[in-house]
Symmetry: C2
Subunit: 311 residues, 2 copies
C-alpha cells in the first residue's frame, strides 16, 4: 500500500502582503485574506474586467470616470454584479477608510466566477465582485521620476482590438510581460509595445505621449483609453497646448523633444531615453514638468475629487 | 463620525466547488481551500502558464508530453519552481490518489506570484506552483457527443502569435469567451475563431480538424500545439490516414465531409453543424468514429499510460 501525504484542512500561506483592506462576498477583510478560488474563471480564463482609481491626500480622483469604464466593461463582457453604482462607491469608500490609507491604489474587479453546477458555459457562472485598497504605487520610482525612465521599444505587438477589446480594461498582459523581459535584457527599465501596423501602442500599465515643437500626440487606437490619458487631453485644453491622438511611428517617438507616459499608478512620468537614444536634452523637459504640476494641482479641484469618509 | 462596517478576520466563501484535491505551498488541500491572493500576478496580469493532463480508468494519459510543454512554457516565461520533474509527477499522483478519482482532470499551474517587497518588477516575484485534480470534464456533453456539436465561426480573431506565444499554454481567453457569447447569440453551442489572415484558428479549449475525401487537415500555426492534436497525428500515422497541418479556410471547413475538435477535456468530439450548414450527412461521420475509438483504445497502451498509485 502506498503511503499518502497528509491532507491539510485549510491553507497556510507563507507569502507576505502589503497592508490594505479588501471586500468580497459581503465581507471586509485584511488584504492577506482576499483570495479567489483557483477554479474561478477570472483566473483560469482571465475572464474578468477591472478598474483602478487612486486616492490622493484622502480623496478619490476622477472616481466617476473609473466607474463609468468599469460598468461599461462588465456590460460588454455580459457580466453583472448584485451592486449598483452607489453601493460600489460605498464599498470603495469603506475599503479605503478601513485601511486608513491617505494615498491608495484602489482596484475593483468583476470575475466570471464559477458555476454552481461546474458547467463550462460562462452563462452559468456566478459573477464575483472584489475590491481592495493598498498603498499607492507608481510605475516609476522617485529616482526615475526625477531623471526620466529608460524605455525600450520592443518587437512585441500589443494584443490587437480584433482579438481583445482594449476599451474593456483587462488582465491580458503576457505580451506586456514579455516586452518587459526583452526591455530588461537590453538594459532598459520598461517596455513600449507596437501595434499590428508597427506604430507605437502602449506599455505595461501606461499610455505613451510625445512632445514635438510644443505639440503633444499619443496613439489613437488599439490602446487602453486611460483615465490619466483623458486627463492629459483635459489639461492641455485648459493650458492651451495642442494635444492630438493619431498614429505615432517609433521614429517620431525617438525624434520627440520630450516623451512621457501616463498611468493611474504614478500619474505623469517622464521618459528620457528610448533604446540607446536620449530624448531631447536627455533630461525631463519643460512641458512634461508643466503637465505633471498641472496634473497634481487638478487633484485639488472639487470637480474631480471625492473625499474619503474616514472614521 | 462615520459608522464603519466590521472587519472580518477571515473569508467565508459562499460558493460551492466540485470534489477534488489541490496542492500548493507544500500542502494538500480540499479543492475548496485552494485559493490564490487577488494580488498574485497570475491573476492580476494573467501572468501564468499551465497544463492539463487527464486520468482515465486510474492512469495518466501522455503525462510526459504535458510535462514537457509545462516546463518549456515556464522557461519561456522566465519562471521557475522549487520542484523538478520527478517531484511534480509525485505531486500530481498524490493529488489524484488523495481525491480517489478514477477519471480526472489534472491541472498544474505556475503563476508569477507576488513580490515580497511589493515591487512591480516581475523579476522580483516568487513564482508559485499549484496543482489540482477534479472530476474529468468534457467540452461536449453526452448528447453532443452522439449527435455532434453545433459550432459557429465567429468574426473574432484569436490572439496572434506576434502578441502571445500560443506554444506557451496560457489563460488569455477573452477572445474565446467573446466568441462563445457570439456563438450562443446565433443559437450555436461553441465557437471557432479565425486567425489574422481569416483562416480557421481554434475554439475555446480545442483544436479543429476537417475530413475531406478520406484526408484530414488541421490549422498549422497560431494555435495551441495540443497534445490531443498530436495524438490525432500519431493515430493517423498508425491507421494510415493522411493527416496534414496547413491553412484551413472557413469555406473548406463548411465543405468538409466531417469535422471534429480535440481537447484533453473530452478527447475527440464531433461537429455536425457549422453556422447554418450541416456538415456532410449531418451526423457523426465514419472517420470521426474510427479515430474516436482508436483514441480511447490508445489509453490502454503502456507507452502512454502511467497508473495512479492509489492508497
Amino acid at each position: 500500500m502506498t503511503k499518502m501525504p497528509a491532507l491539510s484542512a485549510c491553507h497556510s500561506d507563507p507569502a507576505t502582503y502589503p497592508p490594505g483592506i479588501a471586500f468580497m462576498d459581503g465581507q471586509y477583510l485584511p488584504i492577506s485574506e482576499a483570495k479567489i478560488s483557483v477554479l474561478d474563471n477570472g483566473f483560469l480564463h482571465s475572464d474578468a474586467t477591472y478598474d483602478v482609481v487612486h486616492v490622493w491626500k484622502g480623496a478619490f480622483f476622477r472616481l466617476d470616470d473609473h466607474l463609468d469604464r468599469f460598468f461599461s466593461g462588465m456590460e460588454k463582457l455580459h457580466m453583472s454584479i448584485p451592486f449598483g453604482r452607489a453601493e460600489v462607491i460605498e464599498i470603495l469608500h469603506n475599503c479605503v477608510a478601513l485601511s486608513g490609507l491617505e494615498d491608495a491604489y484602489v482596484e475593483f474587479i468583476c470575475t466570471r466566477g464559477t458555476s454552481p453546477t461546474f458547467s463550462r458555459d460562462p452563462r452559468d457562472a456566478v459573477n464575483r465582485f472584489i475590491a481592495f485598497a493598498i498603498p499607492f504605487g507608481s510605475v516609476a520610482n522617485p529616482e526615475q521620476m526625477s531623471r526620466g525612465l529608460h524605455a525600450a521599444i520592443t518587437e512585441f505587438v500589443r494584443i490587437p482590438p480584433s482579438s481583445v477589446d482594449p476599451t474593456v480594461k483587462n488582465y491580458h498582459w503576457l505580451d506586456l510581460v514579455k516586452g518587459l523581459y526583452a526591455a530588461y535584457a537590453q538594459g532598459a527599465e520598461t517596455a513600449i509595445l507596437l501595434d499590428a501596423n508597427g506604430n507605437i501602442a502602449e506599455g505595461p500599465g501606461f499610455n505613451v505621449f510625445a512632445v514635438k515643437d510644443g505639440k503633444i500626440s499619443t496613439p489613437k487606437s488599439g490602446v487602453l483609453m486611460g483615465i490619466t490619458r483623458q486627463t492629459i487631453f483635459d489639461l492641455c485644453a485648459e493650458l492651451q497646448i495642442t494635444c492630438a491622438a493619431h498614429d505615432l511611428a517609433p521614429s517620431e517617438l525617438r525624434a520627440a523633444d520630450e516623451v512621457f507616459v501616463t498611468s493611474t499608478a504614478g500619474g505623469v512620468m517622464p521618459v528620457t531615453k528610448i533604446d540607446e537614444t536620449s530624448i531631447g536634452t536627455g533630461s525631463v523637459g519643460p512641458l512634461t514638468n508643466e503637465i505633471t504640476e498641472a496634473y497634481w494641482r487638478m487633484h485639488e479641484n472639487d470637480r474631480f475629487r471625492q473625499a474619503i469618509r474616514y472614521p
